[in-house]
Every structure is written in structure tokens, then in C-alpha cells.
Amino acid sequence: MVGCAKREGRGKRGAWAAPAGVLGGRPRGEPLCLPSGPQRPPLPQLMRFMLLFSRQGKLRLQKWYLATSDKERKKMVRELMQVVLARKPKMCSFLEWRDLKVVYKRYASLYFCCAIEGQDNELITLELIHRYVELLDKYFGSVCELDIIFNFEKAYFILDEFLMGGDVQDTSKKSVLKAIEQADLLQEEDESPRSVLEEMGLA
């Protein structure tokens, strides 16, 4: 683990054979810095991630609020899906998983799953999921899994209007939908009609 290994050939290894002698023994006593106990201040709610997946274990949407490597993400998704899908209906919507608390709820064929920290408020997270479902429902008009598959970018936009950095930005359904509708209006202005051929990239 040492940076200078490259020059090991030149360095005299023998000199290190008995460093204890050179230095006159080890420092006495206990290690000087004992770790102090962890403190758990009531930080504001911060979601770690949100996942949407189907009963068949297909991931439909993922949003990570804390930098996590791609590999780790995949592992966590796989593991958590397994745990949640194995649970029976009527079981409690909260479970402890790794050092996190997972709040989940199933809507038709889709599981909505949020990971929060231990001392966060579980019930409000459950309602946060519900509010997001309501927003999707209102936007798509009785939303179904297919809407989310085909319009995944919209699902992300709606989520982003509602949550930011893992915290609720605005809980008013009206404000969120207004923002999304405005964006859609802009989109329509943007998009001049195109021929089918153009769409297919053939023109």
C-alpha cells in the first residue's frame, strides 16, 4: 500500500528489518484517539433514492439523491427489489434495510419504493409517494405502467418538480402541475410539425 514501492529494489530492505530496535520500541499506551459515539441529530428529511419497479422486477424509474456508483446502484436495486417483492400484502410498509429505512407502497402493478434515513418520518414519506402517484395520475389521466414506460422522461420531470435533492420542493398539486403544463406548452411551440418520414430519420 505504499507509494514508494517502485523503488524498492534500490532501497535497502535490510534497514527495515528491525525498526523497533532503531526506534526503541513501540509507543506506549492506548491508541490516543478513541472514536466518539456517533451523534444522530434530527436532520431534515432527505431521501436517498426512489425506485419504481414492476411486480416482475423490471425497474421503471430510479432517482438517486446521493452520489452512488453505478455498480453499487445496480446491486442495491437488485437486492432491494428482492426483499420488497418477497413481502406479503398487508405487511407493514416500512422495513429496515442495510442502514436505511425503506418505505414502499404498491399501486396496481407498480411498486414505489423510497429509502430514507433511520430517524426520518415514515408516514409522511408514504404520503409523498401517494402525492407523486396523484400527480402522475392527474397528468396522464389514470396513469398506468405503460404511461411511465413510454413517457419516462415526463415521469422524471414531474418528480423533479415535486422533489429536489431528496426533499419536497412543493407539496401543492396545482403548482407542480402548472409547472409541467407550462413546459408542455413550450414544447408544443417548439415542435414544428414533422412528417412521418422525418421522424423515422429517413428524410
Binding site: 500500500m1 505504499v2 507509494g3 514508494c4 514501492a5 517502485k6 523503488r7 534497514a15 525498526p19 526506534l23 491508541p31 490516543l32 484517539c33 478513541l34 472514536p35 466518539s36 459515539g37 456517533p38 444522530r40 441529530p41 434530527p42 436532520l43 431534515p44 432527505l46 452520489a67 452512488t68 453499487e72 398487508k90 407493514c92 416500512f94 429496515e96 442502514d99 436505511l100 415514515e122 409522511i124 408514504l126 404520503e127 401517494h130 414506460i149 413510454f150 419516462f152 422522461e153 423533479d160 429536489m164 435533492g165 426533499d167 419536497v168 420542493q169 412543493d170 407539496t171 401543492s172 398539486k173 403548482s175 409547472a179 413546459a183 413550450l186 417548439d190 415542435e191 423515422m200 430519420g201
Partner: protein, 926 residues
């Protein structure tokens, strides 16, 4: 985007994984050629392809191109193109610094655009990526956006949360300033969305700077009061299923948990709010929808958290407890779960402990009937928390009977809890012994070493229970199949106290021996080793069985056992039994002395499992409450040490090897070349690292680095050109660190001059534990830079990467040289070549204290020469820097000027670079 829809349905129509991959590869090839093609793509096509790439990524495939096109979209004037660009960037966060610069540029433009939708997108992107580079670029800008008078409400909301995110990742980069007081006043904002976002930000800031945000308390209370008293329609769209602003209420209650109970005036108002919330819980629901009750109860649970946090209003605490009591029997599983969880904390308050205890039957019932293991787990936790001397027998009995059917996942924890409660509240130690033996009988596989060590410690230390213990283990061993842990306990106890029951013909020495020996062949090597020790103890206790035992020891299966430990014991014990006189035997094999009292090894184990904070709190508060705790083996105050106690030797004679062996270092301690390809990305130096580094120039021990997870301490010593540094890594959390890899990095310039060697540490660092690493240091030649210590590990699900400068500086290889005034000036003159002298004149950064200065010069490593300089206010020093190749004489002179609060430091050495470096290092100290 039709093309996208077509592609998605193609993917959905794929019959197999292979077909899907084929379709995706085709699409990737197509997109790649489009991006590479000569014809410039229009914004729409770019958007479409980027969106397809995003879809492919979300399917779980790797995407290694298209980032540039996404970045291009950011600067589009069309909203939807920009939006897709930002979405791509925030989903595929990439720390590629080249791109980050381009992204930052685009964000900068959008922030300055004054177009609220563009600003919103930009802020979102900052919050999503949240990297340090972004914090560096925007942490100064966002507060201005947040408090500017003309900022739109929606942008304010985004700015508040964006700033919160940056503050969490890089608090040092967010400047405090005038804006902070204005942020507090956002709690009064007209727009509830703004208040909601701002409250989160304020809570986080208040955590670190409570004084600065103190005014937020009264503002939060009055805001809360307005919300809880409002009619359900007052807040319009912020009312959620007839509950006024539940999210904001929860956040405000959480903000208040950053502070102690407020002043009387505000406190009265807050108490009213809390009472109103508790009252509302009793009112009939305004809607049958579960959303209504969830939102209402979310606020209620948060209010109860605040009540518990303040822990000062007995009335509120008891009301909270009654409310939770109702929830314990609620038909909603979620509420039962939360009530059990919340009651756990209530149990540790002296005001509500008794009230919690009244629910014992309900909780026991939950343990027996709940269908969800996570709820049962909460019930176990609560029983543990509410246990005291009055109900311990009942609770322990219930936990034991639950253990027979408990889920495997929670058995070990229940075993630990039962063992702790049995010990802590034992009035009668026979009960304690029975309980532990039951524990071993029911769940022997889950009884860890610590548990059976502890029962032996207690039996040895309390002579009133020894006879009973011997009798009970003897009886328990009669069972045809008993757990190996029982054999261990039985072997140890009979070896010590078998004589106490030997009078009974049913348990005569020979019967005891035969009973133990009947289990011998079924046991593992460590247990057999323990039994051999029991046998030699028997030789001393019962001379009449000596021949029998000698026969056993003499048998080939012992004397020639393949296991070296067993063989050695057999040989030594046999020899001991033949050559030693009775007196010597009696002395050597004397009864074990009492164990020194210390923290219970089981408690330490539970802490390790559950995190020190939870257990410690519980224990401490309980200790305060009940003065009648057991005098004897009471655990030492838990706060004195978070380290687990060394286990008592499992070996009666203490001849054996240590029970716990450190893991052999993986890879056989081979040196790893960090410059090879496998070297992973090294984090930039941690904030504050420079300051810490400077502190170590004149001292060798202390804390080098500390954050919420990790503490790094140093202890080092140097002699001539060699040194040794002990690095202590402390895990401050309750969760283990995985893949813990500290790496020492020397730059190319430093490498030839400084030789560092160390061994890898164990890649797993348990919660609350500390590991040590030794670095051997050799200074080959003088050097300027410092090595970097990079630490990478996984904590929870996340990858942590920390870099700090390791304070190995040239002056560490100083040897002080005493010399007289005349010698000093003679040498001073010899070093008069202009390259040999380096001088620095600088302003004092610390108070100019003579004694402190002296201490620093000595700490720096040179000798402090008194009565050398004609001016007594000046300091002169001399020493020799030892490197492997040469020795460099150094002279220094420090002239303070009190009036100007300045110093002049002059260094003269035979080597320019050394003068330069020493001057630099020492100047930073004053």
C-alpha cells in the same frame, strides 16, 4: 418523439434478452453514426437520440458516449431540448472534469438568464450532481438568488433546496453571511411552498450554527401555530386530505428538534400547538381515506418526537404515551409498527417510563401474534427498553419463549438482549444461571462467545451461586444431545467447582468425568482443548480420578493428536500430573481469581451490533432511574469505553492461544504499487486538511482528520533519518466499513526522497472499532512535498473517498545540536553564501507569546539556544537534518517585532532547498 416511442415498443416486443440486446446494439450503432456523421444534427434529432440513450441506460446498459451531445443540448434555446439535456446529465452523473466545466458554463448562463424555467432546470442539475466542483462554482451565487427581492417564488424554492444539497456535501464552500438572517425570515413568507423549502434549509444550517439561526425558533412556532389552528380549507392546495400543510408541519417540528425547549413565552405557545395536535388525534377522522389518517399521524409522530426530545413536560409525555398505546392495537400495521418504535424512546424518559410499562401485555401479545417480522422486531426492542427489575422475570421469560420460534434473522440479537437483561436485573443468581442455560438450550447456535464468557465471569465472581451452577450444568449435561456451548460452560464450571457437588454420590468425581468425556469426541478442537484443561483441574480436585485421567491423556488419540494444540496440552498435562507434587499441583491449578469488573462483554457486543448510541442512551438513563442496580457484576459505565472488553481466556490455565486472532493481512502484506493501472481515483484533499497538516509540523500526535464517519489519529516518532508513524482509523458509526483501503501516495518528485512502507489493514472496520496501521519511514534525501493518505471504503451503500496530507515533513528528521554563542556565529558566517540563506518576514497569526514560541521551535526539532543572540528577545536554534544520503546542518534565527506584530525568520543551511522548505514550514507556525 415518435422515434423514441417506436424504439421503446420494439424493445418491449423483444421475446428474449438476446433479442433485446441485439436491438439495443443496433440502435447504439445507429446513434453513434448519427453523432459522428458529417451532417450536423438539428436540436430535435439530438434530443431524440439523447433521450434514447437515456432509455437504454435506464434499462441497465452502459452508455459510454453521447455526453457531449447532451451538454450541447444545455445551451439550446428550446426549453424541451434543454430539459432533456439536463435530465441526461443528472441521471448519468459523470465526474469527467472536462465535461463538468462545460456543464458549469451552461448552468451559469441559465442562472443568469432570469428565465425562471431555465433557472429551475439549472438549479435542479446542481442539486442532482451536487459535486464539489459544482459547489465551488455556485455556492456563492445561489444564496444571492435565494434572497434577491425579485426572484420568483418557484426559483426561491429550488434555490433553497439546491443550497441545502450543496451544504450537505461541501459545507465549507457555502459562505455564511448577510443572507442567513434573510433566509430565516423566509419562514414568514406568504408562499407556503417557499416556507416548506426554506424550512429544510434552515434546519440543516441551524444544526451546524445554532446561534446564528436561533431566531428561527419563535418564527417556526408561530408558523406552526397558524397551521395547526387553521381550518382545513384555509390553506387551499396545501391542505392534504383535510390535513393542513402536513409536510411543512413535520419540517417545522423537526427544525424545533435542533433546539432545547424555548423561552417561557414561546414555550407556552408551542405547548398549545402540541396539545392541539394531540387533541386532533382524538377527534373523529374527517375522511375515511388512509391518506387523511397517515398525514395526520405523520404530524402527530413528529410532534411526539419533539416532546420526547424536549423531555421536560411530564404531562405531554404521558399523553403521548397514551396515544401510542392506542396505536399499539390499531388495525393498521404501519401504525402499530411506528407506535412500538416511538415508545422505545419514550421508555427511556423518567417521566413516561412507568406509563410505557403499563402496555407490557399488549407488546407481549404483539410479539406472539404479529405476522410481520419487522413489527415483531420492534416489539422485542420495546420490551428490552421497558424492562426493569419489576418486570424482568416476565419479559425475559417471554423473550425466551419467543426465541423458540423466532426468525433466524433476529435470534442472535434476542439472545444478547436476554443475556443482558438476565444479568442486569438478576435478584437471584440462580435465576440468572437458569436463564443462560435455557438460552443455550433453545438457541445454542446463536449464543456467541461473549455470552458464555460472561456467565463464567459471573459464576466465578459470585461464590453464592457456584454450587448451584455446578449442579445445574451437571444436570443439563445429562441430556443426550446438548449444544457444544453447554459443554464449554459445563466443562469450565465443573473444572472449577465440581468439588461442590462431588459429595453427592449421583455426581461423584468419576461420574462427572465420564459425563464430560462422553461429549468429548463430538466437540470441536477448541472445546476439546478446554475439556483437557478441565481434566487436569480434576486431577487436582479429585486425586481419586487421577489414574483414569492419566490414561485418557496417555491414549494415542490425545498424545498423538494431529492437532498441535491438543497434542501439546495432552503432553504437558500428563507430564504435570506425573511430576508435580500435590502442593505444586494445587498452586498451579488453583481456582481462578475473580475477573476484574469491566463493561459486560455482551453489552459491548450488542452495541457493536446495534450502534453504540442506542444502547448507551438506554443504559445510562436506566442507571439514573433505578439506583438499585445489582452491585456485583454491574457493567461499568458504558461511556467509559466503546471498545469491547477482552474476553476472559477460554482456557482455564491461561496457557492457550488468544481466543480471537487478528485476521491475517490479505495478500500476505505484499507491497502494492499504487502507480499501477489498478490505482483508483483519489479524492481531492479533504477540507481543512491544510490546517491540520500545519498543526503537526511541531508535534507528532493528535487527530489528523475527522468527519461524521471517520476519525484518523496519528502517533509518530522519529530518530535520525528513520521514523515510524502509527495511524489510527476510528469508525465513528455503528455500521461497518467495507473494503476499507488506506493508500499512501508519494508524488513522482517525492518518491525518490522518501521511503514509506506499511502493510494493508483489514478491509472491514466494525462499527465503533478502531484499526491501526504502522508506517515505516525513511528519509533518503531532503524533500518538499508531503505524502498523501487516501482512504477509500464503503459505508452503508455509499463509496467514501477521503484524502489528507500526511504530516511527514523534513523537519521531523532534525536532530537538535547544542552549541555555544561563539560556535554558532562562526558557523552562521560560514553559511553566508546567498543561496544558503532564506529569509521570510511575516505577520504574526497567533499571539506573540515567548513561551509558546520556544515550545514551537523545540517541537520543530532544532535545539533552542539560549544566550546566543545578543538580543534576548530573539530566538536562535540549531540542528542537523538527517537523511540517508547526507546530513545537513541548519541554523535558524527568529526575530519578533512586538510593535509591528511581525516576525523575521532567517534560515541558513548548506542546501538551498532545505533552507527554503524549513523556512516555509516554520513560518506557518507563528
Amino acid at each position: 418523439m415518435r422515434g423514441l416511442a417506436v424504439f421503446i415498443s420494439d424493445i418491449r416486443n423483444c421475446k428474449s434478452k438476446e433479442a433485446e440486446i441485439k436491438r439495443i446494439n443496433k440502435e447504439l450503432a445507429n446513434i453513434r453514426s448519427k453523432f459522428k456523421g458529417d451532417k450536423a444534427l438539428d436540436g430535435y434529432s439530438k434530443k431524440k437520440y439523447v433521450c434514447k440513450l437515456l432509455f437504454i441506460f435506464l434499462l441497465g446498459h452502459d452508455i459510454d458516449f453521447g455526453h457531449m451531445e447532451a451538454v450541447n443540448l444545455l445551451s439550446s434555446n428550446r426549453y424541451t431540448e434543454k430539459q432533456i439535456g439536463y435530465l441526461f446529465i443528472s441521471v448519468l452523473v459523470n465526474s469527467n472534469s472536462e465535461l463538468i466545466r462545460l456543464i458549469n458554463n451552461a448552468i451559469k448562463n441559465d442562472l443568469a438568464s432570469r428565465n425562471p424555467t431555465f433557472m429551475g432546470l439549472a438549479l435542479h442539475c446542481i442539486a442532482s450532481v451536487g459535486s464539489r466542483e459544482m459547489a465551488e462554482a455556485f455556492a456563492g451565487e445561489i444564496p444571492k438568488v435565494l434572497v434577491a427581492g425579485d426572484t420568483m417564488d418557484s426559483v426561491k424554492q429550488s434555490a433553497a433546496l439546491c443550497l441545502l444539497r450543496l451544504y450537505r456535501t461541501s459545507p465549507d464552500l457555502v459562505p455564511m453571511g448577510d443572507w442567513t438572517s434573510r433566509v430565516v425570515h423566509l419562514l414568514n413568507d406568504q408562499h407556503l411552498g417557499v416556507v416548506t423549502a426554506a424550512t429544510s434549509l434552515i434546519t440543516t444550517l441551524a444544526q451546524k450554527n445554532p446561534e446564528e439561526f436561533k431566531t428561527s425558533v419563535s418564527l417556526a412556532v408561530s408558523r406552526l401555530s397558524r397551521i395547526v389552528t387553521s381550518a382545513s380549507t384555509d390553506l387551499q392546495d396545501y391542505t392534504y386530505y383535510f390535513v393542513p400543510a402536513p409536510w411543512l408541519s413535520v419540517k417545522l417540528l423537526r427544525l424545533l428538534q435542533c433546539y432545547p425547549p424555548p423561552d417561557p413565552a414561546v414555550r407556552g405557545r408551542l405547548t398549545e400547538c402540541l396539545e392541539t395536535i394531540l387533541n386532533k388525534a382524538q377527534e373523529p377522522p374527517k375522511s375515511k381515506k388512509v391518506q387523511h389518517s397517515n398525514a395526520k399521524n405523520a404530524v402527530l409522530f413528529e410532534a411526539i418526537s419533539l416532546i420526547i426530545h424536549h423531555d421536560s413536560e411530564p404531562n405531554l409525555l404521558v399523553r403521548a404515551c397514551n396515544q401510542l398505546g392506542q396505536f399499539l392495537q390499531h388495525r393498521e400495521t404501519n401504525l402499530r409498527y411506528l407506535a412500538l418504535e416511538s415508545m422505545c424512546t419514550l421508555a427511556s424518559s423518567e417521566f413516561s417510563h412507568e406509563a410505557v410499562k403499563t402496555h407490557i401485555e399488549t407488546v407481549i401479545n404483539a410479539l406472539k401474534t404479529e405476522r410481520d417480522v419487522s413489527v415483531r422486531q420492534r416489539a422485542v426492542d420495546l420490551l428490552y427498553a421497558m424492562c426493569d427489575r419489576s418486570n424482568a422475570p416476565q419479559i425475559v421469560a417471554e423473550m425466551l419463549s419467543y426465541l423458540e420460534t423466532a426468525d433466524y434473522s433476529i435470534r442472535e440479537e434476542i439472545v444478547l438482549k436476554v443475556a443482558i437483561l438476565a444479568e442486569k436485573y438478576a435478584v437471584d443468581y440462580t435465576w440468572y444461571v437458569d436463564t443462560i442455560l435455557n438460552l443455550i438450550r433453545i438457541a445454542g447456535d446463536y449464543v456467541s462467545e461473549e455470552v458464555w464468557y460472561r456467565v463464567i465471569q459471573i459464576v466465578i465472581n459470585r461464590d453464592d451461586v457456584q454450587g448451584y451452577a455446578a449442579k445445574t450444568v451437571f444436570e443439563a449435561l445429562q441430556a443426550p444431545a446438548c449444544h457444544e456451548n453447554l459443554v464449554k460452560v459445563g466443562g469450565y464450571i465443573l473444572g472449577e467447582f465440581g468439588n461442590l457437588i462431588a459429595g453427592d454420590p449421583r455426581s461423584s468425581p468419576l461420574i462427572q468425568f465420564n459425563l464430560l468425556h462422553s461429549k468429548f469426541h463430538l466437540c470441536s478442537v477448541p472445546t476439546r482443548a478446554l475439556l483437557l484443561s478441565t481434566y487436569i483441574k480434576f486431577v487436582n480436585l479429585f486425586p481419586e480420578v487421577k489414574p483414569t485421567i492419566q490414561d485418557v491423556l496417555r491414549s494415542d488419540s490425545q498424545l498423538r493428536n494431529a492437532d498441535v494444540e491438543l497434542q501439546q496440552r495432552a503432553v504437558e498435562y500428563l507430564r504435570l500430573s506425573t511430576v508435580a507434587s500435590t502442593d505444586i499441583l494445587a498452586t498451579v491449578l488453583e481456582e481462578m481469581p475473580p475477573f476484574p469488573e469491566r463493561e459486560s462483554s455482551i453489552l459491548a457486543k450488542l452495541k457493536k451490533k446495534k450502534g453504540p448510541s442506542t444502547v448507551t442512551d438506554l443504559e445510562d438513563t436506566k442507571r439514573e432511574r433505578s439506583v438499585d442496580v445489582n452491585g456485583g457484576p454491574e457493567p461499568a459505565p458504558a461511556s467509559t469505553s466503546a471498545m469491547s472488553t477482552p474476553s476472559p481466556s477460554a482456557d482455564l490455565l491461561g496457557l492457550g492461544r488468544p481466543t480471537a486472532r487478528p485476521h491475517p493481512p490479505p495478500g500476505g502484506g505484499l507491497l502494492v504499487d499504487v502507480f499501477s493501472d489498478s490505482a483508483s481515483v483519489v479524492a481531492p484533499l479533504a477540507p481543512g486538511s491544510e490546517d491540520n497538516f500545519a498543526r503537526f509540523v511541531c508535534k507528532n500526535n493528535g487527530v489528523l482528520f475527522e468527519n461524521q464517519l471517520l476519525q484518523i489519529g496519528l502517533k509518530s516518532e522519529f530518530r535520525q533519518n528513520l521514523g515510524r508513524m502509527f495511524i489510527f482509523y476510528g469508525n465513528k458509526t455503528s455500521t461497518q466499513f467495507l473494503n476499507f483501503t488506506p493508500t499512501l501516495i508519494c508524488s513522482d518528485d517525492l518518491q525518490p526522497n522518501l521511503n514509506l512502507q506499511t502493510k494493508p489493514v483489514d478491509p472491514t472496520v466494525e462499527g465503533g472499532a478502531q484499526v491501526q496501521q504502522v508506517v515505516n519511514i525513511e528519509c533518503v534525501s531532503d524533500f518538499t512535498e508531503a505524502p498523501v493518505l487516501n482512504i477509500q471504503f464503503r459505508y452503508g451503500g455509499t463509496f467514501q473517498n477521503v484524502s489528507v496530507q500526511l504530516p511527514i515533513t523534513l523537519n521531523k528528521f532534525f536532530q537538535p545540536t547544542e552549541m555555544a554563542s561563539q560556535d554558532f556565529f562562526q558557523r552562521w558566517k560560514q553559511l553566508s553564501n546567498p543561496q544558503q540563506e532564506v529569509q521570510n518576514i511575516f505577520k504574526a497569526k497567533h499571539p506573540m507569546d515567548t513561551e509558546v514560541t520556544k515550545a514551537k521551535i523545540i517541537g520543530f526539532g532544532s535545539a533552542l539556544l539560549e544566550e546566543v543572540d545578543p538580543n534576548p528577545a530573539n530566538f536562535v536554534g540549531a540542528g542537523i537534518i538527517h537523511t540517508k544520503t547526507t546530513q545537513i546542518g541548519c541554523l535558524l534565527r527568529l526575530e519578533p517585532n512586538l510593535q509591528a506584530q511581525m516576525y523575521r525568520l532567517t534560515l541558513r543551511t548548506s542546501k538551498e532547498a532545505v533552507s527554503q522548505r524549513l523556512c516555509e514550514l516554520l513560518s506557518a507556525q507563528f
